[in-house]
């Protein structure tokens, strides 16, 4: 599971006011190279919750992302490379996503998060 996906997921447990962002429990992170597309990154940038991405990347062991960003940085190749790496090349293979309010763990197995709720959480 990439951090791009993590940036879009939220906890839907009954009673939770704000289920985003999910915490990350890391058991196994792998890095998979993928070709950088500047246009893709520029299109996605406005939709990304930046703080959540920075925090998540740090949890996965990557601390190179700047805390503060603005869209002018999208012209810098150096920034795009870091953005690309954090967003698309880091994979959580095994671990869990954690609901920020209830602490409930959503397991991640073989890179797939299981977001199914139990009967009493619905």
């Amino acid at each position: 599971m990439r951090l791009l996906t993590h940036n879009m997921l939220s906890s839907n447990i009954k009673g939770v006011a704000n289920g985003f962002p999910l915490g990350i429990e890391v058991e196994k992170v792998i890095e998979k190279q993928v070709e950088l597309s500047a246009d893709f990154l520029r299109n996605l940038f406005p939709k990304i919750e930046w703080k959540a991405l920075v925090d998540a990347a740090r949890t996965m062991g990557y601390a190179e992302l700047p805390e503060e960003v603005d869209s002018s940085m999208l012209d810098s190749n150096e920034f795009l490379t870091k953005f690309h790496h954090a967003l698309l090349e880091l994979h959580l293979e095994e671990g869990a996503l954690v609901c920020p309010e209830t602490g409930r763990r959503f397991p991640v197995t073989k890179g797939i998060p299981n977001m199914l709720l139990h009967e009493d959480e619905v």
Binding site: M1, R2, L4, T5, M8, L9, S10, S11, N12, G19, F20, K32, V34, E35, S37, D39, F40, N43, L44, K47, L88, F106, T109, K110, G111, I112, P113, N114, M115, L116, L117, E119, V122
Partner: protein, 342 residues
């Protein structure tokens, strides 16, 4: 999957509380208070039973697709939905993959989406994504980011693997999640896509509610699904023989109670969606089932089927029932599209 599906679904006028729950014989007189108590007890027990049924249904759906996904992919490729054909044509399985792509394009066109990829949606959710065929197609077509959800871990795995193999891993990703509790914040997606998954949803109101919730302002929602025929104004429910036929199909395909196209429209209207359009595409998919049956009788597909297991075999045996349903104008292949207000 139990045989008595409690259709206590909310707005669906085809469903009524079962008389035997109310513990009285028709025609007997009871005072109002006792009726109320009985009705409340019945509803609570029905709700409890419905939740247990829903749990069993979800498990059944996940297992059905876990079991049959590989065989399906072998025979049909990476799309798991009906193809769009010219009515009355005789088709063979080799026409099917092109027809499945055509189905996606026709649905997009019907919904009024631009042919120009640069004007298309940038973020898409594929609700009931199967092995991700639609997601990968839409990701490619619109250069969009697509998220797919499915109850089946096997399908999610396969979907991600196929995306990676096709160089789309950054654009299409898949997870195990429940369409009735989508793990996304409100207003995430420009296009909400449900291709032949609506029929699996036990609570149509909740299903539609979630589709609308995750849609961004101005987003398009496209639902392609099996429904039963709209009821005539004088009718309160389907005929007993119709209910029986649908029931048999339900058991084989892990489907909850059916609803009609009009039921979907009413739900969307109640949520203030705009530009609601529907069409009956049954004639365009009718050539599919005879083709499936013919192909299933080939040696390769028969052995594939036998290898997949009991659930898939039951599904295969239900194919003539689908044909019957279409022929008798009971089963409709419907498309429903709308826009979320800005």
């Amino acid at each position: 999957m139990t045989t008595s599906v409690f259709p206590t679904c909310q707005l669906l006028h085809t469903c009524r509380p079962r008389p035997h729950l109310l513990h009285r014989t028709p025609g007997s007189t009871t005072n109002n208070r006792r009726q109320l108590t009985l009705a409340v007890t019945a509803t609570t027990r029905a709700m409890e039973a419905e939740r247990k049924n829903d749990g069993a249904l979800k498990k059944g759906i996940a297992e059905f697709y876990d079991e049959s996904s590989e065989m399906w992919e072998d025979i049909w490729g990476d799309h798991m939905h009906h193809g769009f054909y010219d009515p009355d044509s005789t088709v063979s399985v080799s026409d099917h993959r092109a027809a499945q792509i055509r189905m996606i394009d026709e649905a997009l066109r019907f919904a009024g989406l631009s042919e120009d990829p640069t004007k298309g949606p940038k973020s898409v959710v594929d609700v009931g994504c199967g092995i991700g065929g639609s997601s990968r197609y839409l990701a490619r077509k619109y250069e969009a980011k697509c998220q797919g959800i499915t109850l089946s871990p096997v399908q999610a795995q396969r979907a991600n693997a196929l995306a990676a193999a096709q160089g789309l891993a950054d654009k299409a990703s898949f997870q195990v999640a429940d369409a009735l509790e989508q793990p996304f914040p409100d207003g995430q997606f420009d296009l909400v896509w449900s291709m032949e998954s609506g029929e699996h949803m036990p609570d149509k109101a909740k299903f539609v509610n979630e589709l609308v919730r995750v849609a961004a302002p101005g987003a398009t929602i496209i639902i392609v699904t099996w429904c039963h025929r709209d009821l005539a104004p004088s009718e309160e429910a389907l005929q007993p023989w119709e209910k029986e036929l649908l029931n048999k199909i339900c058991k084989s395909y892990y489907l909850p109670a059916w609803c009609s196209t009009v039921d979907y429209v009413k739900l969307l209207e109640s949520l203030s969606l705009q530009d609601i359009k529907t069409a009956d595409w049954s004639p365009y998919v009718a050539p599919f089932w005879p083709a499936v049956i013919r192909s299933a009788l080939t040696w390769k597909d028969m052995t594939s089927l036998l290898r997949s297991g009991l659930k898939s075999i039951k599904g295969a045996l239900a194919m003539p029932l689908m044909i019957q349903g279409f022929k008798k104008d009971l089963i409709k292949f419907a498309i429903i599209t709308c826009q979320k207000p800005e």
